[in-house]
Symmetry: C2
């Protein structure tokens, strides 16, 4: 398959592995890129020198294109930008912030920029800022999420109607069925998180991976809406948030309850009670831990099978 997304990134399959914190290091990114998708290093949980190390290891592990996800609200954002420029990274996915500030800087250095958006008005801003593509990420996606709560089903057609640059769909996509659905809605590629979090090469803790495999419908929730909304597993920590909200805790109190380092504690260290376990609704559709290459292959085969099936429907 050749489309604007495969051409833009020079990849075989229009499937991007999301740059998840504490999960997407050089091992996962290079495994996905070697298998024909686009792997992303998740820099949101890395100090600049750790990011540099991951980029270098990824360059050694694959000759295929890969990228780095940079949350624009990261405190040391200028250092991260400096590292990706210095290390010759060719593709940056930016998220959680205004694309106007850094897109021109990155573009000046010949870096492709894709911005993650939760709404079409943000997609238009990204297009105006010079981004090469956008990721339209729905309410069902794991981690930080938009306030309008627009789901992938409603968001993707809306964003596709709004912008001319290619649109990648994210949120709720674990297999070929959802990938075909995203393409029907107008996307030309997909960004997949949770499914790759439960891969062999993901650096998240095995307890976290097992929780994804065990997850049922309704096990995740978009919470902490007074701060930055985040989708995560309903664990003991979520119970504490609920208690606090029940007694009408204010922003400051919730910030203290959240504290620091909870995502690391949960995702990386495997503390399933106290951690902030960022994951998507689609975890309910994931039933095994597999190598990243097998994940890609299974998605592609299901997608291809569906394409054939669709072509065969009598009208």
């Amino acid at each position: 398959m050749t489309n604007r997304v495969t051409s833009l990134f020079n990849i075989k399959y229009p499937i991007i592995q999301a740059g998840m914190i504490w999960t997407a290091g050089w091992r996962l990114a290079s495994a996905v890129s070697n298998a024909g998708g686009l792997g992303l290093i998740g820099s949101g949980s890395m100090y600049p020198e750790i990011l540099r190390e991951h980029i270098r290891k990824c360059q050694q592990a694959t000759t295929h294109p890969f990228g780095v996800n940079i949350p624009l609200i990261y405190p040391a954002i200028d250092k991260h930008i400096q590292v990706v420029i210095e290390e010759g990274v060719k593709i940056v996915f930016s998220s959680a912030g205004n694309p106007k500030t850094w897109t021109p800087v990155l573009k000046q250095h010949g870096i492709m920029v894709v911005h993650v958006v939760p709404g079409s008005k943000y997609a238009l801003k990204a297009e105006d800022a010079g981004c090469d593509a956008v990721v339209a990420e729905g309410f069902e996606a794991g981690g930080h999420n938009g306030r309008e709560e627009t789901t992938t089903m409603c968001l993707v057609p809306s964003v596709c109607d709004a912008v001319k640059i290619p649109v990648l769909a994210a949120g709720g996509i674990t297999g070929g069925r959802a990938m075909m659905a995203a393409f029907a809605l107008g996307a030309e590629g997909v960004q997949i998180g949770s499914r790759f979090a439960a891969s062999l090469e993901s650096s998240s803790h095995v307890h976290f991976k097992q929780a994804i495999v065990d997850a049922k419908e309704g096990d995740t929730i978009l919470t902490l809406k007074q701060l930055i909304p985040v989708r995560m597993f309903k664990n003991k920590f979520f119970g504490e948030i609920q208690e606090a909200e029940k007694r009408c805790a204010d922003k400051e109190e919730l910030q203290i309850l959240l504290g620091r380092g909870r995502a690391k504690k949960g995702i990386f260290e495997g503390n399933m009670d106290e951690g902030e376990l960022e994951i998507g609704q689609a975890s309910a559709l994931i039933h095994d831990i597999k190598p990243a290459a097998k994940i890609l292959q299974d998605i592609w085969e299901e997608f291809r099978g569906l394409q054939k099936e669709t072509a065969g429907w009598a009208l």
Copy 2:
């Protein structure tokens, strides 16, 4: 196109118009059925004798199959059941309640029963109760909604994996793109609400129809979660709910604030400030008020066009 849904209901297109309160009377239902879809009368806002009148008028207006939606939490539910049996209704869509109580009664009278569910465990219960099909309704749908907040993208594959009976997708579907997406996810038909609410034949107030046309992303919200969660427009009444929730109002206080008759006030009488304006997220994708037959035709043509396009993708 022939599949289990078109065969089950004996209809031309696997497109069902949702039985929305204050919106789906005999005019809308018969218009949809005459155009080749399945029209549903929304009995949730009707007294039993009004329902009887709508059924009789619908029978006069179309020779094609049509059905009645019955919310099982309706106080005079036994009278509604009696009316549909007496009037020879052939298809009932039940929602909001336990399908075990009434499904066997309806089936005994040769009536087909389809139950609306927000999760796969409820779909299994409906299958066990003898239902002929289920509607998997996602978080983005308008009106009353499930507590697990599972979106159409995640819900439909999950329900399709869980049950053997046909699955209809609902929530976020206004056109052929989303219909194709629903089919890719495994659905064999779609139930469409908001798009038909903004039809000429819908009995909702013109102010309400115009609000759908004017709606943008983020204009609806799932609220009143302490009572029964409902998706509606963010209007003045929603501002009052927010105020109440901010001061930690309890269930009783919210119930008093909600009061009685707010859905009628908004949807039927056009009071856009004080009404409970039940509508889906997909309202942001609706830009005109059209005859129901034209809506059906446009969805079908877009769906058919996409099928051809999909078949043509190079692999």
